[in-house]
């Protein structure tokens, strides 16, 4: 087995095994929370916390976990991290806690987290598991924020780029332009299009992800056609 590099594992999680567009898992928060860039970012951060915690500890304990009860044990471990981030959000970032609602506790049944624990962390040492966790989280975050941005732009005509920051000692999600060094970023970024309200509603969510998946499929098909042609096949 070729030695996989740390960075290689990360990149795999983002593109080849992208949890949302390739593995098509964990869709519920992706569609529900992608109504705006800020919400998507918050969710991505909470998810990353749980994903890394779960992968690290499942991997650490993998030799000790009895196979018969491994799923309940995974759930216990994941649930601990989920409850932790849920409580911390409630105390330290109340507006984001309100915005994300029940989708934070629902990370515990997110197919991605349990799936990676079973398929990867349970069979691999800690360092690769960390890489996998980072890659998958970035892939998830990228998908979430892509969807969130598209829906926010098309649905409201503007994009508000926000970031987790501490302003005047208060932790919260602030516009990117508030962060020193980034004040050139307009807030919000206006687009001269007529907003289509439907995009921030449920049908808009399904439409956006369908369109994105269609786009990626066409791109992937083209690439494969080119590859086959190069190898001399008649198309």
């Amino acid at each position: 087995m070729a030695k996989k590099s740390f960075v290689g594992e990360i990149i795999r999680g983002i593109i080849k095994d992208n949890p949302v567009f390739v593995l098509v898992l964990g869709l519920c928060p992706v569609l529900a929370v992608s109504t705006s860039f800020a919400n998507a970012l918050g969710m991505a951060m909470a998810f990353t916390f749980v994903m890394l915690g779960s992968n690290i500890f499942v991997s650490l304990l993998r030799k000790q976990i009895p196979p018969g009860v491994r799923i309940p044990i995974f759930i216990l471990i994941i649930c601990t991290f989920v409850t932790m981030i849920d409580m911390m959000l409630e105390a330290f970032l109340p507006p984001m806690y309100e915005a994300l609602g029940i989708f934070v506790p629902l990370i515990v049944v997110n197919c991605i987290v349990i799936g990676r624990a079973e398929a990867f962390a349970n069979r691999n040492p800690v360092l690769p598991s960390i890489a996998d966790g980072i890659g998958i989280s970035i892939g998830f975050a990228a998908a979430l924020m892509l969807l969130g941005s598209i829906r926010e732009i098309l649905g409201t005509g503007a994009l508000k780029l926000m970031m987790l920051w501490s302003k005047d000692g208060e932790l919260g999600f602030y516009p990117l332009s508030d962060i020193p060094g980034f004040s050139f970023v307009p807030n919000p970024i206006e687009f001269s299009i007529e907003p289509a309200t439907v995009m921030v509603t449920p049908p808009g969510a399904f439409l956006t992800i369908a369109a994105l998946m269609l786009l990626f499929k066409i791109m992937g098909d083209r690439k494969r056609m080119k590859q086959l042609k190069k190898e001399g096949y008649e198309i």
Partner: protein
């Protein structure tokens, strides 16, 4: 990878051990977060402090709970009763909206603040972001508290008329409760 299968006892032991560790970690986190939550609640203060800070009754210096009341607070400027204030949850289009309403002694609105809402981002949430919207409520009496489309004095936010309607109805509802508690 050969591993000896664990006996039932061992399995139960491991399960319990993990459960105990989880419980300990969570209780510790709970302690930390509760502290922070308590700090937040204290800083925000009770409804009387919040109503004062929000300025729904201008010139008020103190709010005091109406005798036997639940949400209605008497607004005092010094020792003169100048009006009433209340903060309550009302139904919005998507979810609950928390409103703070101030009225004078004739129950004419002196100020409205949308404390929290979960309306559609970018559309319904303008009820909170558009300062001009809530500013309209000042000086309007109960008869005028309807959307201008229904013959009232409140202009709904274009594109967010449903949420605007819910806020207006919510203000009426809160004033009704205030009147009940005052009498």
């Amino acid at each position: 990878m050969a591993e000896t299968k664990d006996s039932i006892v061992m399995i139960l032991f491991k399960l319990t051990l993990i459960a105990v560790v989880a419980a300990v970690v969570l209780t510790a986190t709970y302690g930390v977060t509760q502290e922070q939550l308590a700090k937040l609640a204290e800083a925000a203060g009770g409804p009387d402090k919040q109503l004062l800070e929000m300025g729904v009754v201008p010139d008020a210096t103190k709010f005091k709970l109406v005798g036997g009341g639940e949400i209605c607070y008497e607004a005092y400027a010094g020792s003169d009763l100048i009006g009433y204030g209340a903060m309550a949850e009302v139904q919005g289009m998507q979810d609950i909206i928390t409103l703070a309403v101030g009225v004078n002694t004739d129950f004419v609105v002196t100020g409205v603040v949308v404390v929290s809402q979960k309306e559609t981002p970018g559309i319904g949430d303008k009820i909170q972001k558009d300062e001009g919207f809530v500013a309209q409520f000042a000086g309007v009496g109960l008869d005028g508290l309807k959307l201008s489309d229904d013959g009232g004095e409140i202009d709904g936010i274009s594109g967010a008329t449903i949420s605007s309607g819910y806020v207006t109805a919510g203000v009426v509802e809160i004033i009704g409760k205030m009147q009940q508690e005052v009498s």
